[in-house]
Amino acid sequence: MQTYLDFEKPIEELDLKIIELKEQNLEYPSEETITQIAEAEQLIKNIYKKIFSTITPWQKTQISRHPERPKTQDYIDNLITDFFELAGDRSFAEDKAITGGFGRFRGQSVLVLGHEKGHDTNSRIKHNFGMPKPEGYRKAIRLMKLAEQFDMPVISFVDTPGAYPGLGAEQRGQGDAIAKATECCLSLGVPIIVVIIGEGGSGGAVAIGTGNNVLMLENSIYSVISPEGCSSILWKDSSKAPEAAEALKLTAADMLKVDVIDKIIPEPLGGGHRNRSKVIEDTGNAIEEYLKALSNQHGNELKHSRQERYLQIGRNGLFSEKTSAANEALDSKFGKIREPKNFIKHPVFIGLIAIIGIAALGFYWFN
């Protein structure tokens, strides 16, 4: 049973029609049926094209959470051979919200890691909806250190609403676990490739989402807070989530603009859930490409280039050119706020335009 999002409702009917047509004429489909199926498929394409031409950040948020969107386990099943699962943090428990283990990715041994949301009610409960507790992050640390010990790259899939906000989780140091996991990501001497495959929910995502390269699926989102959470805090109204999604600028395209990610992996029309094998294969190709590019870097080099990557976020073009000691002397006591130059709104510019306008009008009038 497929799930259809609100804006996908017209698709549902067509999908059902296609299924019906195919079932009726299993053996020898008539010319007419083949045309009917083709027509319906074309119609679906057109509807999706229309939806995607004006897609909103809120709609993307819904796609990123789609129940049939491939999850970490699907990527592992299809991209990794000889997967050898590892469990437990060796001090408290096993947390199934983060899956991980050794495996072979296109011939090469890797350590694969990821948030797992599950695909039906039972598995969702088992994986705690992809919301890790401290032991999950500590397990991730343990696994990443193993990767370093055996000199193999880390592939990390991010797909979480956020770290679990619970009593026990706080008691066992949720903040500590996330901080240490991020620190681990930033100190590792092996390549880390991160792919945001669904939801990148805040610190819970950063903890295993800090790498040499971060790739992101076209309809995934990455945000410090969920649109629902943001709207209930800032708008004091949880129904303003669509507006919050807009304001937060959480789409892959937004992330690429500010260098938070390195590449957008395009999704099939309609989103990853419409063609799971295609999106998984394309993701595999992107990972391979980026792993290859990192193969000439080793140990500390990898660590330093990764640190540099994160230090530069937010600086490109946004910063004043002077950031050194000179800045201290020159800046006023409480610092200056440099807003982007917007000369169209500059009073001199407006004045100039006004004068030219009046002159032109006068010229026209008196001639």
């Binding site: 989780a169 800090t210 919050a244 409480f334």
Partner: protein
Amino acid sequence: MNWITKFVKPKLKSLLGGKKSLEIGEEAWVKCKQCQTMLYSEDLEKNLYVCPHCDLHLHIHPRLRMKHLFDEGAFKEISYPTVQLDPLNFKDKTSYKDKFKEAQRKTEMQDAFLIGFGKIQGITTTVIGMNFKFMGGSLSSAGAEAMVKAAEHAVANNTALVIFTASGGARMQENQMSLQALPKTTIAVQMVKDAKLPYIVVLTDPTTGGVTASFAMLGDVAIAEPKALIGFAGPRVIQNTVGETLPDGFQRSEFLLDHGFIDQIVHRKDLKTKLAQLLSLLLKRAA
């Protein structure tokens, strides 16, 4: 209690252009949120913003904190690189730019971070103080730059880095720029640790969210002020998830000490001595 000297006199003083109080935009009277006593802010300032009646540690302006922490109250303030304000052009009911400028005006700070450089009982130290009254002490991209700046300064001057945290978490109006401040501030901490210099965290009320999930939990030594709220998720969020009332003292300093996440709880008036003792042990190792 002489009402005239305590209330009217400073009012007159301020009218006549006398010395400005440290806490700009602060009321003359503050109500203690624990014992509900009305406290006169000049008394509070002398008592380091600790309630004289119930010992509650209230929010303190980092500039005042540093004045008491550094020898003879002398320290150099260090500014940090400025970033583009409001990178997302964020608008909810009000504009982020307005809130930010108001916070700057009220606190007389560049952002929620203040970097000070001076001597603590003779030991030169780089200190960061966070101000909860600057948009809830939220971590912004400028805040991350402050951490990097302070770390670089500590390494260049071969000093320890001490930070007093006070924050509700990441600044959501900057969304991704504040989220990426988590790795960035972590790198700042790594700079200090790689140079084998001490990184000491003093957790003050409140320290939650993204700040707890990054530099606040990475201290070589972690100290907390009494009864400070310290946690990742806020108590309200947890209450909504678990659907039951939280135990008394949950997520307070004492709770964290019991669960092994901090080393000591130190009263604000003793912080200077304790920090000096620790810094001396760590930095002046020879007999």
